[in-house]
Amino acid sequence: MYSPTVLAHLDQPRNAGAMEDAVSRGEATNPVCGDLLHLYLKIDAGRIVAASFQAQGCPPTIAAASVLTGMIEGLTPAQARNLAPADVTRALEYLPRNKEHCCVLAIDALRSALAAIPIEMV
């Protein structure tokens, strides 16, 4: 049902947990599904140098957040803003059709976090 990549991220999520010294925090919820996602970013010299997440949700939500935190490390906020849900789905190999909204949730949380970066750091 789930790809090996999804299962690997569920089994050992990367960058999980709140980040004490984050410069920015984003949040997204799926009103239908109840999934909740928090995303934390650390910015240095105009680039994302660290990201972490907290999630309560089904395996793809956790996996999407986990894989996304890895994908954005090293990107500028502008580059990160260009990421789309399909990029996350691709990074997870594939998802059941009715679970693709989990990647939308991850991107929503990312955009929310990007929008919260103090203007002087962008």
Partner: protein, 399 residues
């Protein structure tokens, strides 16, 4: 990797003895039971032997047993069959809020056709109350259908008491009132006696008691008229058309016999291990609660809520460790509502907790339970650690 199957409420391993009982009917006695030659007569005999075995398990007469393709078809035939045969006498049906989808959807179907439905509440404990049944009964009621044991939380419903209520009204002249129970999750776990229960119809399926998938039975009390829902040849005394699956029927017969003979020992075994599992989980994991009445339930089922996490994450994580369980709160098509059963016993709609059902079988071992007890706490903690909803206290407890 170790593999531990604790999803026996979903389906069970077919017993080797049951497979043995089926095998001759694939390649040796492969006649059609409607045929009048030797092959056919052997097949027919196998079916009648199985009918006697099933009847004995339920304390019924063989002629009262109809074989069909499973619990779902049995529920459909019972409910639609009574509705079609007796709708001229009334169009009210009483059921519970937490029946299996086969019952709920059949009832919904009738509701769409103009029947009136009462769906009884089941309260926090997951048990229908007699006073609610009494209050719901009207002169228009032709059917009460309430399950004997619930499939998610295992709670046992007061069917014999409902049977007495129904008998009372019937004695008072309401002859078209019938009682059906879906006993799929009770047969083989607790004594099921159609006379003692006072039911007119009872549903049962083989694959929950170590028989094959694809065969079930409906008990129809002698004298009760139902309208067949499958049309064609004159099989099963005109109550269900279709060439009988002789091997599967031989299989349900054998499974029924084994369930009857070994029921007590199996129940004791399952209850002991289940109680041990429950005690250990409650001791080792904080913020966990049990679902359903603790006493009035079948022996092999334990159902928990784990706060701050989602059920599917738990279930899939356990699966990665080789442990099969099910969750009543999986997200599908973008909605992570708890199951209709968990909602019916009052769980809030928000996804602040994940539920897991552990369902044991006669084959479950203490070592398997120990493996679960070793494995589960770390998984719950891992998911709680990444959950934004976790209380500080819990996070600390996890260190």
């Amino acid at each position: 990797m170790r593999r531990v199957y604790l999803d026996n409420s979903a389906s069970t391993r077919v017993d080797d003895e049951v497979v043995e009982a089926m095998l001759p009917y694939f390649t040796e006695q492969y006649g059609n039971a409607s045929s009048t030659h030797q092959w056919g007569q052997h097949a027919k005999q196998a079916i009648e032997d199985a009918r006697a075995q099933v009847a004995r398990l339920l304390n019924a007469q063989p002629t009262e047993i109809v074989f069909l393709s499973g619990g779902t078809e049995s529920d459909n035939l019972a409910i639609k069959g009574i509705a079609a045969a007796h709708c001229s006498r009334g169009r009210h049906i009483i059921t519970s809020a937490f029946e299996h989808p086969a019952v709920l959807a059949s009832c919904d179907q009738l509701e769409a056709q103009g029947f009136t439905l009462t769906r009884l509440p089941v309260y926090r404990e997951g048990i229908v109350r007699l006073k609610d049944v009494r209050a719901a009964l009207t002169d228009e009621t032709i059917l009460v259908t309430v399950m004997l044991a619930n499939n998610e939380i295992g709670t046992i419903q007061p069917i014999a008491e409902i049977g007495a209520l129904v008998a009372e009204r019937r004695a008072a002249g309401q002859r078209h009132l019938h009682l059906h129970t879906d006993a799929v999750q009770a047969v083989g776990k607790i004594p099921v006696d159609v006379k003692q229960l006072g039911v007119d119809l009872l549903t049962f399926t083989a694959h929950k008691i170590h028989g094959p998938k694809g065969v079930g039975a409906l008990y129809v009390r002698r004298g009760v008229r139902i309208t067949s829902q499958m049309h064609g040849g004159r099989h099963e005394r005109d109550r269900r058309a279709g060439t009988e699956s002789v091997p599967l029927i031989a299989g349900i017969g054998k499974a029924a016999e084994l369930a009857r003979v070994h029921m007590d020992e199996r129940a004791v075994h399952m209850r002991q291990l289940r109680d041990y599992l429950e005690a250990q989980i409650i001791e080792r994991i904080p913020d966990v609660s049990r679902n359903g009445d603790a006493e009035q339930r079948v022996p092999g089922v334990a159902n928990f809520n784990f706060d701050f996490v989602e059920g599917e994450g738990l279930q899939i994580s356990l699966d990665l460790k080789g442990i099969a369980v099910s969750t009543g709160s999986a997200c599908s098509s973008g909605s992570t509502e708890p199951s209709h059963v968990l909602l019916a016993i009052g769980l809030p709609r928000d996804s602040g907790h994940g539920s897991l059902r552990f369902s044991l079988s006669k084959d479950t071992t203490r070592e398997e339970i120990d493996y679960v007890i070793e494995t589960l706490p770390a998984i719950v903690e891992k998911l709680r650690k990444i959950s934004p909803r976790t209380k500080k206290k819990t996070a600390e407890h996890a260190e």
